[in-house]
């Protein structure tokens, strides 16, 4: 009996009981849809996170104060002195640029409008390091630093909130924590990042922040030091140089650093492993649902074998061999799950797309990615489930004794 004929006959038989076939398929549809949607969302989330991480800058490292071990005695904070020491091209040849920052939240106002924003005190090096540029005006210069100038750069969201528009703002004066600051430029739009909008941010000169807005103790303390490596291959070397220089300055014992160096790659790895774990976890749940779907198929095939005992007996009386009956029922069960799988792929794809549209509309650019491998995987997996769970019922049918089957009422 040829396979094509078997497929047509199986389709006829499944078609003969549409409701039941549909309900049986539902388990597989849901399972496969869940797998496809999860894989698509996982891959999309990964892309988004990696995209926003690489948007921070290139070949970056971040230095925070505080060690990995909480119990270190007398931890020293990161200071301006630390940042300057890292700039020494002799002891740190693989460091391209160093940008210490102070960061906090702050109240800004203009006219009647007020808003809470992220305020960052930066040096001129911050702009190349972070790939920041302005759409109008200028960036913070060495003179602004030296003069502790009351100047500010606005993120687009801040501009929108305070002024209702984004251009022609240079020269305006806004109040930051009640103090007047002159707008010298507007930052390029950054888009949504991992940690909320990066456009609700204002930048002021580091020295101004230190002296007047974000006072720290000791006074020369910095919150984070951004370090840019000369190239991607030097990131590890850079990490070692930073550790070396800072542990010398802080006189820490080996392995007891009171600061933490974190590279962009570390963040990428962490993010990937988190999305990976999530994908695996939810994929596992989806797999269980596939398993349940498979058991549903087995159940229905067993019912179908019982119902069609007489038919099986008749076919055997007419000369059907074991393998003919086996193929007939296996074709039915794998078709059930294959069709269920295909519907599931379409449904999963649609779910992913809807989630993508919703999240994009709510501000987080997000594009679910349905890969060819995911489709192949789901198709093959669902067919195999149908085959696997069809074997037992099909075997039962194939082994019916013809005369017994014919007598069956």
């Amino acid at each position: 009996m040829n396979i094509w004929r078997a497929v047509i006959e199986a389709l006829e038989s499944l078609n003969g009981n549409k409701m039941r076939s549909g309900l049986t398929m539902l388990g597989i549809v849901i399972g496969v849809a869940a797998v496809i949607a999860m894989l698509a969302l996982g891959a999309g989330a990964q892309d988004t996170i990696l995209g926003s991480l690489s948007g921070i800058g290139t070949n970056l490292l971040f230095v925070f104060s505080g060690g990995e071990d909480e119990s270190i005695r007398n931890p020293e904070p990161l200071t301006i002195g630390d940042a300057e020491a890292l700039q020494d091209s002799f002891s740190a040849p693989s460091i391209e640029a160093v940008a210490p920052i102070l960061q906090g939240s702050s109240e800004v106002s203009y006219g009647g409008e007020a808003s809470t924003v992220t305020l960052t005190g930066v040096t001129p090096a911050y702009f190349p390091v972070r790939n920041y540029a302005v759409t109008e005006g200028e960036t913070i210069s060495e003179e602004h630093i030296l003069g502790r100038a009351s100047v500010v750069l606005l993120g687009v969201e801040v501009a929108d909130n305070l002024f209702g528009h984004r251009d022609g703002l240079v020269g305006e004066t806004i109040r930051v924590e009640g103090q007047p600051f002159r707008v010298i430029g507007v930052l390029e739009e950054q888009g949504g990042g991992m940690m909320g909008s990066q456009d609700n941010e204002i930048l002021i000169p580091f020295s101004t922040a230190q002296a007047r807005i974000l006072r720290r103790s000791p006074a020369d303390r910095v919150d984070v030091i951004f370090v840019q490596s000369v190239d991607a291959d030097s990131v590890t070397t850079t990490e070692e140089e930073i550790s070396q220089i800072l542990s010398q300055r802080h006189r820490t014992a080996v392995g007891e650093n009171d600061f933490t160096v974190f590279s962009q790659q570390d963040m990428v790895d962490t993010a990937s492993s988190i999305t990976g774990i999530l994908t695996t976890f939810i994929g596992g749940i989806a797999a269980i649902s596939l398993l349940v779907g498979g058991i549903g198929i087995m159940n229905i095939m067993l019912v179908s074998v019982t119902e069609r005992t007489r038919e099986i007996g008749l076919r055997k009386a007419l000369g059907a061999r074991k393998q003919d009956i086996l193929i007939q029922f296996l074709t039915e069960s794998s078709l059930l799950s294959l069709v269920g799988g295909l519907i599931g792929i379409a449904l999963g794809w649609a779910i992913g797309a809807v989630v993508g549209v919703i999240s994009t509309n709510s501000g987080t650019a997000f594009e679910p990615v349905v890969s060819l491998s995911a489709i192949l995987l789901a198709t093959i997996f669902s067919t195999v489930i149908g085959l696997f769970f069809g074997i037992y019922p099909a075997n039962r049918a194939a082994n019916l004794v013809p005369v017994e089957a014919l007598r069956y009422e």
Partner: protein, 228 residues
């Protein structure tokens, strides 16, 4: 003289139902010649169907010997038995046993499919239906046919592979006497035209009277053989 197409020696069949044993056949020895028309009669439960199922290789005997067309059936495996059912034997049942979802043509085509016939299946099936007088009903489903017509489809299906033997278990049992006689005429005609051996189980003496020989079963044994 031609060798008998069916030879059984001391055939027995025991059904085990838990502790109970039912002796359905208790030593049946018979010979049926090629082209013969044989009726099997006997009271209900006397083992007629069991005997036919055994002769048709739907079931294996518990004991004794069965030689079908020169082959010792006990030596055959499942696939070989399936092949015999497919090529050498045609079955007609009391309750027609057609596939309800399939058309008359597909029903008749079924044995050809299992015999691996690849070309001209539809044509052969159509010819078989024509030979039972249903050339104009090939696309009807069983529910759209009368009882007599359904039994004709079943006969077409039984003869489409040109079997040596046609076995009919009370083929007229579900039909009124007029239609039943039409079916009998069809079967006898088939025997005359193609020389197909006919084994017909029946309760009806009028049916049995048309056979060349009647075998009477009683309690799993042959009580008498009555030549016509």
């Amino acid at each position: 003289m031609d060798a008998p197409v069916i030879i059984t020696r001391n055939l027995t069949k025991v059904y085990k139902m838990g502790e109970m044993e039912v002796h359905a056949l208790r030593g049946v020895s018979l010979e049926i010649k090629r082209g013969e028309v044989v009726a099997i009669m006997g009271p209900s439960g006397s083992g007629k169907s069991t005997l036919m199922n055994t002769l048709g290789c739907l079931d294996q005997p518990s004991g004794g010997e069965y030689i079908l067309d020169g082959e010792t059936v006990a030596d055959l495996n499942d696939d070989q038995l399936a092949d015999i059912r497919n090529r050498k034997v045609g079955f007609v049942f009391q309750s027609f046993n057609l596939l309800a979802r399939s058309t008359a043509l597909s029903n008749v085509e079924l044995p050809l499919r299992y015999s691996g016939t690849t070309s001209g299946r539809k044509e052969k099936a159509r010819l078989a239906l024509e030979s039972v007088g249903l050339g104009d009903r090939i696309d009807h489903r069983p529910a759209e046919l009368s009882g007599g017509q359904q039994q004709r489809v079943a006969i077409a299906r039984a003869l489409v592979n040109e079997p040596a033997i046609l076995m009919a278990d009370e083929p007229t049992g579900n039909l009124d006497s007029k239609v039943g006689q039409e079916i009998m005429d069809l079967l006898l005609n088939l025997n005359k035209e193609s020389g197909t051996t006919l084994i017909i189980i029946t309760h009806d003496p009028k049916v049995a009277a048309q056979a060349q020989r009647t075998i009477r079963l009683h309690d799993g044994q042959i009580r008498e053989e009555v030549p016509a």
